[in-house]
Amino acid sequence: MELTIGLEPPSAVKPINTLVFHPGKCVNCGLCLQVCPHRVFAPGERRVRLAKAESCMECGACQRNCASGAIEVESGVGCAAAMIMAALKGSDEVNCGEDCCR
């Protein structure tokens, strides 16, 4: 069973985020429960539950620390200024300027 959040059809539904949870792969190590700053996952009996998928900010902490590969997310910086700057410079790399992010 796969739970896809946001990228599911119908396409009229705007994507909220790129978080995908594969419950079948979850080994209930609980690390995602620790690292998520928005409490997206909740503890469960045999595996964690995707409790607040819409709150995911795509920081990527859970995916990085999920050893069983049960979590997928395209992580990145949710900063319009950085993305616009990257687009203007024509670079793929979204990065914060010297005046930002300290």
Binding site: G6, K14, P15, I16, N17, T18, L31, Q34, V35, C36, P37, H38, R39, S55, C56, M57, E58, C59, G60, A61, C62, R64, N65, A67, E74, S75, G76, V77, G78, C79, A80, A81, A82, M83, I84, V94, N95, C96, E98, D99, C100, C101, R102
Partner: protein, 327 residues
């Protein structure tokens, strides 16, 4: 200003004096953005022994001071990573507070010879950059994630675990406003121009000034109370709301073609301007996702640009008409 890891154990305590406080104020105001850093290395707080805990943090002085001031009266080691003077969460997002840097710091400071245990306590918000199992494989230290905020460290250390609240990022009034002075500094030249404009055309200059300052201070303050999910929309909403009193004042005095043109230009210029400031605020929030921001950019940038361009055109026509005596 590159500084290598100190090989010696450095000493510190929980006290934050006037020198540090001046440094904090400068950092909060956006002065010397790259300069607020402490030497990376291993610091002793109190008189730690071979069994004392090891906390890990960034070498941004605000991070370092926040952690150590919460450790007053305790014995601990503080492993300060070289994050180039960037705070924990941002550094983790860019990988400077990452697995590789943790391994490097453990190696460079000879931590294995200083303590007998093999546990590192990392701030939770470093997790986007740190892979627990790779740290374990790389240096033998087990990573434990402490609370999001250093102020919760004492409770975490005494209780041995984090509560749900300690694991959750907030975005309260203080959090929302803390970056406003930095933004003010980023827009300082534009604001000076507006000051000049206020001297030449007081009404318009004042209006633009009030709207811009509202975008920088009032918008973050009112953020949770503004309607709609998108920050751009919330900015535009606030813009429309704030232009209206100026417009009502204008309409109550003279009603003519010129006034109507001016009113149209005001809405079309200032509403998207506040929308843009709202969009830009995404990077200051603790919740905006890349997907969400990308969607906002694609939804709002073009309409806002069109509004601004037509507003500018109407303003030019109005000004020419005023001086040319067309209306």
């Amino acid at each position: 200003m590159e500084e290598s890891y100190s090989e010696e154990v450095l000493r510190t305590d929980g006290k934050v004096g006037s020198k540090e406080r001046r440094d904090h104020i400068k950092a909060r105001l956006g002065f010397d953005r790259l300069g607020h850093r402490v030497r990376p290395g291993l610091y002793a707080i109190g008189s730690p022994g071979r069994g004392s805990m090891v906390l890990v943090t960034a070498n941004y002085s605000l991070s370092f001071d926040a952690v150590r001031s919460c450790m007053q009266g305790r014995n601990a080691y503080l492993l300060v990573l070289d994050t180039k003077g960037i705070n924990v969460w941002c550094a983790a997002g860019k990988g400077t507070f990452g697995t590789a840097e943790v391994l490097k710091a453990v190696e460079a400071t000879g931590l294995k010879d200083v303590v007998d245990h093999r546990v590192l306590i990392l701030p939770q918000l470093s997790a986007p950059g740190v892979t627990v199992r790779e740290v374990k494989d790389g240096c033998g230290f087990k990573v434990e994630f402490g609370p999001v905020r250093s102020e919760d460290l004492p409770a975490y250390l005494d209780g041995g675990a984090c509560t749900e609240a300690m694991r959750t990022v907030r975005f309260n009034l203080r959090d929302r406003l803390v970056l406003a002075p930095v933004e003010l500094r980023n827009y300082r030249w534009g604001l000076l121009l507006l000051l000049l404009a206020a001297w030449l055309v007081p009404f318009y200059g004042l209006m633009a000034m009030v709207l811009t300052l509202s975008g920088l201070f009032l918008f973050p303050a009112l953020l949770p109370y503004l309607p709609h999910q998108d920050l751009s929309f919330r900015g535009m909403f606030l813009g429309a709301l704030l232009v209206t009193p100026f417009v009502l004042y204008q309409l109550s005095s003279v009603l003519g073609t010129l006034t109507l043109l001016a009113v149209a230009a005001e809405y079309l210029l200032l509403v998207p301007w506040l929308g843009y400031l709202g969009l830009n605020f995404t990077g200051s929030t603790t919740f905006a996702s890349r997907t969400g921001v990308k969607r906002e950019i694609f939804t709002y940038i073009l309409p806002m640009a069109l509004m601004a361009v037509s507003g500018a055109a109407i303003a030019v026509i109005g000004a020419l008409g005023y001086w040319g005596g067309w209306f």
